[in-house]
């Protein structure tokens, strides 16, 4: 007898639930599923937002009246530094990550992201890094040099305690999470979609997150490098930022803002993606100008990397250089305006429904446009010179960040809350909460523009009673507390919706995206079967599709040997390509994050002898991640339903993990390029050059090291090409060559730069050589690991993914190594006074 669709759906649901079931009790900490990890990110970010908000209230309490005795200047410095640090690094970015991790597979018609364990590892890094910062705050040793940690204030001379180290190490730890998320999001969006979903059919939110992922990948490495260099200066006295020893404090500003300005758009664009998703739903009208919006967000991403110096207009940069940055700063308003007009046109052509999410959309339009306009004012040098470092700037960036991020994210929260809770909101408190936030926000920050124009500087804990600023500050403080009451109401509203919200069947907003084509709250596997997409994925019928997918009438509408599977497609066309086997819940991400934490804690405690053990533990734990993917025979193409078949990802030419390695190397290369830029910057701009004592790097040793690197890389590359021939010997030879290269490099680094604490030239050469040596060491690990996999029979001509991933590393290490060795020689020539060039 044939099963009817409801009983098929029920049977399939049971089978899938069994395959995807999480571990019970404490085992929940081993969860890697994207819905669980995404929610953890969002809830944790919410907690940090509350803590950052309390700090903001302390700031407003201090400034409410002139010469307030509430906090002394030291404590005030810790409070405003931690407020900025928490809001930027522990709230905004992680909330975006969590939102995207939770939502993207559902929008793309997938069962999970490409690398669930990486998401879990990123979450633990974020949590532990955040806790490090909070513990310092509780202990009274929180960072106190501002969220941008300008040198020389944050250098050892002026900040001798561990406060600055906490920031440098804690934030870098958290940034690991951001880079992991960037890699995971980019690969998932490009590869892990439903078949048929070409780039032109992707939901607009996926475009936004693709662009944001790419921005994170290239924006965070300069800051990570800056943090490493500053920590090296503080811990080991390498003088990168000390102008008396060939360093330059401006190098920190360049590295920081090279991250810091794109960061503003990294925060804004996901929120804009939310708006582009929900405005069409509430306007009952597809997004106007989809193509123009895609062009606008890609343009915006690039332009945002050309603005960083507009934070540095006052440091003495030539007119021409300032013109480049000022023009780019003004130009970035164009793609922003394109999006705003697309949303307005969508509303104008549709029949808008004014629900609670739309209230926040209204709030966004009002607040963000004002913030954008004051941003254009500040991009103009003559005005910036007047308003620089005043409360006008504080008001401006709060209009941009709260208007451009918090309001849209609250709209998104109210929109997707029924998806998460499975209950439709009652909305008794929602509207009062909105109006309290909206009125409180404007009372706080609109008035702050005037405080700034009257000349009140930022980051001061007290002001004179006759300054004329007191009444404005008092209004701002009252407004701040009103806004806080609004946020507290939002929290109560959310809790009450989980408790008292009413049930609904499916798709309560009449949306047209795949995230609503599933039961809510969603199952861990998202879709019982995966759809074939033949139109734009934000113009679909979730009600009809949802029933068909639940009944298994799509791809992978079955469970294969208890495995968790999803599909990968070709990037541009969305053609079915691979079956991706997803990992089960595992403790490995947590253990790996704990091992990573031991490194940062040991650095903070100056227990340097622990560091090699921490690094070894991290490497070994990461290698253990690959254990489950080992196969000793080729599987060949597997049926996936609807008459189609695809190879498992371990046998595909370029599996998601191959792309992940490519992207990781792109981030690594950005860090390296920033380091080389830093060296050249010091030569062009820093005082104290040429150096009196030059590094003594032997030409012969440089040539030997380069030859060893090239040989090691070439052997690794050739081994990957001949994976079918069990190239164990080649890989062992590659590892040996890496060992030799490492020896030469470390010899040069330690014996060739005796003046590395005396001048930045030697310090830069030392770090470049160490960078190459570390890559050679990891190259040896890749080669040895490949040899072991070959030895165990896990590699064949088809199952060559391990060696192909290694090949990317070998290529990068050889090229960057030779470049680094050449750079060191050129920098020494320049640093010796080779101005005749």
């Amino acid at each position: 007898m044939k099963e009817n669709p409801p009983s098929i759906a029920l049977r399939l649901h049971r089978e899938l639930t069994e395959a995807w079931s999480p571990k019970p009790g404490l085992g929940r900490l081993a969860a890697v599923n994207h819905s669980v990890i995404g929610l953890r990110f969002m809830v944790t970010a919410g907690v940090f937002f509350a803590i950052g908000g309390v700090l903001a209230m302390l700031i407003r309490a201090q400034l409410a009246t002139a010469a307030s005795p509430f906090m002394d200047e030291g404590l005030y410095a810790q409070v405003f530094t931690m407020h900025g640090t928490i809001m930027m690094f522990l709230f905004a970015i992680p909330l975006i990550e969590g939102f995207a991790i939770y939502l993207l597979p559902k929008l793309l018609g997938a069962r999970d992201l490409a690398f669930p364990r990486l998401g879990a590892y990123g979450y633990w890094c974020y949590l532990f890094g955040g806790l490090m910062l909070l513990a310092a705050l509780a202990a009274g040793v929180a960072p106190e040099s501002g969220w941008f940690m300008y040198t020389p204030l944050s250098s050892g001379t002026h900040s001798p305690g561990i406060n600055a180290d906490v920031w440098l190490l804690g934030v870098t730890f958290v940034e690991i999470s951001a880079v992991c998320a960037a890699v995971e999001l980019i690969v998932s969006i490009l590869k892990i979609r439903s078949p048929g979903m070409s780039l032109g059919r992707m939901p607009i939110f996926a475009w936004y997150m693709l662009v944001v992922g790419a921005m994170m990948l290239f924006a965070f490495p300069p800051l990570i490098l800056g943090s490493i260099l500053l920590e090296l200066e503080r811990a080991f006295d390498l003088p990168f930022f000390d102008p008396e020893r060939g360093g330059d404090p401006l190098l920190w500003q360049h590295l920081f803002w090279l991250f810091g300005h794109p960061e503003v758009y990294i925060i804004f664009l996901p929120a804009a993606g939310v708006l582009s998703t929900l405005i069409p739903v509430f306007a009952s009208q597809p997004l106007m100008g989809y193509r123009a919006v895609v062009v606008a967000i890609v343009s915006m991403a690039f332009l945002s990397f050309g603005l960083w110096v507009h934070h540095m207009y006052m440091v003495g940069i030539s007119h021409l250089a300032m013109a480049f940055f000022s023009a780019a700063s003004a130009l970035v308003a164009v793609p922003t305006a394109i999006q705003i007009f697309a949303w307005l046109a969508t509303l104008a052509h549709g029949r808008p429904r004014f629900t609670v999410p739309m209230l926040y959309v209204f709030g966004f339009f009002f607040v963000f446009v004002i913030g954008g306009l004051t941003g254009v004012m500040l991009a103009m040098m003559p005005f910036d010179k007047q308003a620089h470092d005043t409360h006008f700037v504080v008001a401006h960036f709060h209009y941009v960040l709260i208007g451009g991020f918090v309001f849209p994210m609250l709209a998104g929260l109210y929109y997707w809350l029924p998806h998460i809770s499975g209950r439709f909101p009652v909305h008794h408190l929602s509207k009062p909460a909105f109006w309290l936030i909206f009125i409180g926000f404007n009372a706080t920050f609109l008035v702050m523009h005037f405080t700034g124009l009257l000349g009140m500087p930022r980051r001061v804990h007290a002001y004179a009673a006759d300054s004329g600023w007191e009444i404005y500050n008092l209004i701002s403080s009252v407004g701040g507390f009103v806004m806080t009451i609004g946020f507290a109401l939002v929290l109560i509203d959310i809790i009450s919706q989980f408790r008292y919200g009413r049930g609904f069947r499916r798709n309560p907003w009449k949306a047209t995206t795949l995230d609503w084509a599933m039961p809510t709250p969603p199952s861990l596997y998202n879709f019982a079967s995966l759809p074939h997409i033949d139109c734009r994925a934000d113009m679909m019928e979730p009600d009809r599709i949802g029933n068909e997918l639940a009944a298994g009438r799509g791809y992978l509408g079955f469970v294969r040997e208890g495995r968790m599977e999803t599909l990968a497609v070709s990037m541009a066309s969305g053609r079915l390509e691979q079956v991706v086997q997803l990992p089960n819940d595992t403790w490995l991400p947590l253990w790996t994050a704990l091992a990573t934490a031991s490194f940062f804690i040991a650095m903070l405690a100056k227990l340097y002898w622990v560091l090699p053990f921490s690094v070894a533990a991290v490497v070994i734990l990461f290698l253990l991640w690959t254990e489950k993917s080992a196969r000793t025979s080729d599987a060949g193409p597997l049926p996936v339903g609807l008459g189609a078949s695809a190879v498992p990802h371990t046998e595909a030419p370029n599996a998601p993990s191959w792309w992940a390695m490519l992207l990781t190397l792109a981030a690594d290369g950005t860090l390296y390029a920033s380091l080389l830029f830093g060296g050249l910057f010091l030569w062009t701009s820093a005082p104290g050059w040429p150096s009196a004592a030059l590094p003594e790097i032997s030409l012969a040793l440089s040539v030997f090291a380069a030859a060893a690197l090239v040989a090691a890389g070439a052997l690794g590359v050739v081994a990957a090409r001949h994976a079918g021939a069990a190239p164990r010997g080649m890989l062992m030879a590659s590892a040996t060559a890496y060992g030799l290269a490492m020896f030469f490099l470390m010899w040069m680094a330690f014996s060739g730069t005796p003046d590395r604490m005396g001048h930045a030239l030697s310090a830069v050469c030392f770090v470049v050589l160490c960078y190459v040596a570390v890559h050679a060491a990891l190259g040896a690990v890749f080669a040895l690991y490949g040899a072991w996999r070959v030895h165990r029979g896990y590699v064949s001509a088809q199952r060559a993914l391990d060696l192909r991933i290694g090949r990317l590393w070998h290529l990068y290490t050889a090229i960057s190594g030779v470049l680094g060795l050449a750079f060191v020689r050129v920098l020494i020539a320049l640093g010796s006074g080779g101005d005749a060039l």
Partner: protein
């Protein structure tokens, strides 16, 4: 079709503004290096300094490359048969045009502003 081909079709999207970024880095770097080496003092064409000549040369080269890229992408766009693959090329062409406009707007000041003051 190999995945690498598809990867490069995605990369085309970044070509236009990738070129803008390269022009930005080169102009900013040569402005700094030229000032460090005193090129602003070396007059090579009447009272036009070596610094100005180098920067204008880079600017002109950048705009010419933008034009070539745009023409190439236009050709590729018309050659693309499959609609689902064509989207990347269409927006790549749009972006190449936008990037050329951005280069003109951002870098035109090389003709008159003082490079080292």
């Amino acid at each position: 079709m190999r995945e690498r081909g598809e990867g490069s079709s995605v990369l085309l999207i970044t070509a236009g503004f990738g070129l803008w970024s390269l022009a930005f880095v080169l102009l900013y770097s040569f402005q700094a290096v030229g000032c460090r080496l005193g090129w602003q003092e070396l007059e090579v064409m009447g009272d036009v300094t070596l610094q100005r000549v180098v920067l204008i040369g880079l600017f002109a080269g950048g705009i010419a490359t933008h034009l070539l890229l745009w023409r190439k992408l236009r050709r590729l766009e018309t050659m693309t048969a499959r609609a689902e693959e064509g989207f990347a090329r269409i927006i790549a062409t749009d972006l190449a045009m936008a990037a050329m406009g951005a280069s003109l707007f951002c870098f035109l000041a090389v003709f008159w502003l003082s490079p080292c003051l």
